[in-house]
């Protein structure tokens, strides 16, 4: 086994003090007979990036939406800072795979939408804040454009800025980069790492790309096909000090990608 990746038993990881999010014993059925998730126990360490990786239909989106409070569990609970939560809360912000932007609202209105809903601050204050995050994601100058006037990559940035603007501790991202081309995707990954280092967020990230998972994550959770169970947890432990190109040539990086690929490949048959 590769020295780079440390596989742990799921239970060791759960219920640590510094997990900002924990899920206990989560089981999810859709209706009577679609068994989407089966007794998931997981901890998401504060300030780290955890990726959910697994074959299509294994329940990644389901788990993320349960954590977000958008779906009810059949069994089990979600804890934030050790306390069980029911429904969405201010500690969590969701970045949607299909962007979920209001088509009738401008970029600045979309970014400020979360603030408007919870009525945080006055209108000028909210606009100020929205502008700040629009600049932060590199969309300065596009404040008064409508979503249909933006490219897919730009729309996703609006979704990210909206999630950042509410200043939640945890960002939940469902395949945020799947709608953009490979070059833009790499740029986004670096931007994201940079933002995370600055904004001190914890992130739970769903992706289909093994490379992306290994490149951005502190912790990778491999899920098995339906019903989703935890197959293994991998910590890539790649130093972030090197340049992106060095990292992509790093032996640990390549070994970890290879190991995950070996694990996932057996589900393909």
């Amino acid at each position: 086994m590769s020295t780079a990746a440390v596989a742990q038993m799921p239970d060791q990881n759960a219920s640590t003090e510094d997990n900002i999010v924990e899920v206990r014993n989560i089981t999810k059925y859709y209706g009577e007979d679609i068994h989407a998730l089966d007794s998931i126990n997981l901890g998401f360490p504060t300030g780290q990036m955890t990726t959910l990786l697994g074959p299509s239909g294994c329940g990644k989106t389901t788990l993320l939406k349960i954590i977000a409070g958008l779906l009810e569990t059949t069994e089990g609970e979600v804890l934030i800072h050790g306390k069980p939560v029911f429904g969405p809360g201010p500690e969590r912000a969701f970045v949607f795979q299909d962007f979920a932007l209001l088509p009738w609202a401008t970029v600045i209105e979309n970014v400020g939408f979360g603030l408007e809903l919870t009525n945080k601050g006055t209108k000028p204050e909210r606009e100020e804040k929205a502008k700040h995050y629009i600049n932060e994601v590199g969309l300065g100058g596009f404040e008064y454009k409508y979503p249909h006037e933006l490219s897919g990559g730009m729309r996703q940035r609006v979704g990210l800025a909206r999630a950042l603007a509410v200043n939640a501790e945890v960002l939940l991202m469902d395949e945020p980069f799947s709608a953009v081309d490979e070059q833009t995707r790499r740029k986004f990954q670096e931007d994201l790492l940079y933002l995370l280092a600055n904004e001190k967020k914890s992130v739970i990230f769903v992706t289909h790309s093994i490379e992306e998972a290994v490149y951005v994550s502190d912790q990778i959770v491999l899920l098995s096909p339906r019903p989703g169970r935890i197959h293994s947890i991998i910590r890539p432990e790649i130093s972030r000090d090197s340049t992106p190109d060095e990292i992509r040539r790093d032996k640990r990086y390549l070994d970890t990608v290879e190991e995950i690929w070996t694990n996932l490949r057996k589900y393909l048959d």
């Binding site: 939406k65 977000a68 409070g69 958008l70 969405p88 809360g89 201010p90 969590r92 912000a93 969701f94 949607f96 299909d98 979920a100 209001l102 088509p103 009738w104 609202a105 939408f113 979360g114 809903l117 919870t118 600049n135 932060e136 994601v137 590199g138 969309l139 300065g140 100058g141 596009f142 409508y146 979503p147 249909h148 006037e149 933006l150 490219s151 990559g153 730009m154 909206r162 509410v166 953009v180 833009t184 740029k187 931007d191 940079y194 933002l195 600055n198």
Partner: protein
């Protein structure tokens, strides 16, 4: 402090500008051309003539002018617009409310859906004479006819619009802790607005048909009377002039609704048609 270099993916050039023809936008220009082409075809068809009962465009306009000058047109509309305005207003207010309610609430849906589906599917023209048994031949009967035609379309469109509101936007609103009230007013209603307004436009047009039908079938008054009287005395250019004003009026109201929609609900449609 821009953390992310503005590597904004480039959008190809400035957004496509509409061309200008004779100092107006190209869409407007082509619309006008299309209307004139229609009038020209009408004129030619009238001159052939395709039927003795089909007047030319120019003689129809002459007849229209006559009726405007002698006040007949004004009196007819004063008569026709009352039940139309009342009926359409009632249908719009209650229709949208009931339709939206059906979209949001299963009980409302179960209660109202059969009623309006049956109404929409029934041959209302055949039912209109029955209205006279219940409501006589006055204003009420005409108003009921308008409502019977307009309301089902408005209700069923509003209902479908709400049902089809983008679930992803609803989840987004919930994830940012939107209340049920906010989900409805900030997401569901604006996202349903285009289809609700499409229903209103169709409803207004149907209401027009309703009032004219009532005037043709129940009480010979108003614009319906202009149509049936001039047909009976074979003054077809007058009859077509009355029909022409109905179409014109209906089109103007539909256009005004479109303006209201864009202004209050869908500002993004203003820029770049």
């Amino acid at each position: 402090m821009s953390a992310v270099a503005p590597s904004v993916d480039k959008i190809s050039g400035p957004t496509k500008k509409s061309e200008k023809i004779l100092g107006m936008t190209d869409t407007l220009f082509y619309r006008i051309v299309s209307v004139f082409a229609l009038f020209a075809i009408w004129e030619i068809a009238g001159r052939i003539p395709i039927s003795v009962a089909f007047p030319t465009f120019s003689s129809t306009m002459g007849a229209l002018w006559d009726m405007i000058l002698d006040g007949r047109m004004f009196n007819a509309y004063a008569e026709t617009l009352k039940p139309l305005a009342v009926g359409v207003s009632i249908s719009a207010v209650f229709g949208v409310a009931i339709g939206v309610g059906m979209g949001l609430n299963r009980l409302m849906q179960w209660f109202w859906e059969p009623i309006f589906v049956v109404l929409q599917a029934s041959p209302v023209a055949a039912l209109i004479p029955l209205i006279t048994y219940a409501y006589g031949i006055g204003l009420t009967a005409k108003t009921v006819a308008v409502i019977m035609l307009a309301a089902p379309i408005i209700v069923l469109n509003s209902y479908k619009a709400v049902r089809n509101a983008n679930p992803s936007l609803i989840q987004m609103c919930q994830s940012f802790q939107g209340t049920r009230f906010q989900v409805i007013w900030q997401v569901i209603i604006p996202s349903a607005a285009p289809v609700i307004f499409a229903g209103l436009r169709l409803g207004v047009a149907a209401g027009f048909i309703g009032v004219i039908l009532a005037e043709l079938l129940i009480t010979p008054t108003g614009v319906g009377d202009l149509i049936s009287y001039h047909r009976s005395v074979a003054e077809y250019q007058y009859m077509y002039a009355a029909v022409f004003t109905v179409i014109l009026f209906s089109a103007i109201m539909v256009g005004l609704l479109e303006v209201a929609e864009v202004k209050y609900f869908r500002p993004e449609k203003k820029k770049g048609h």
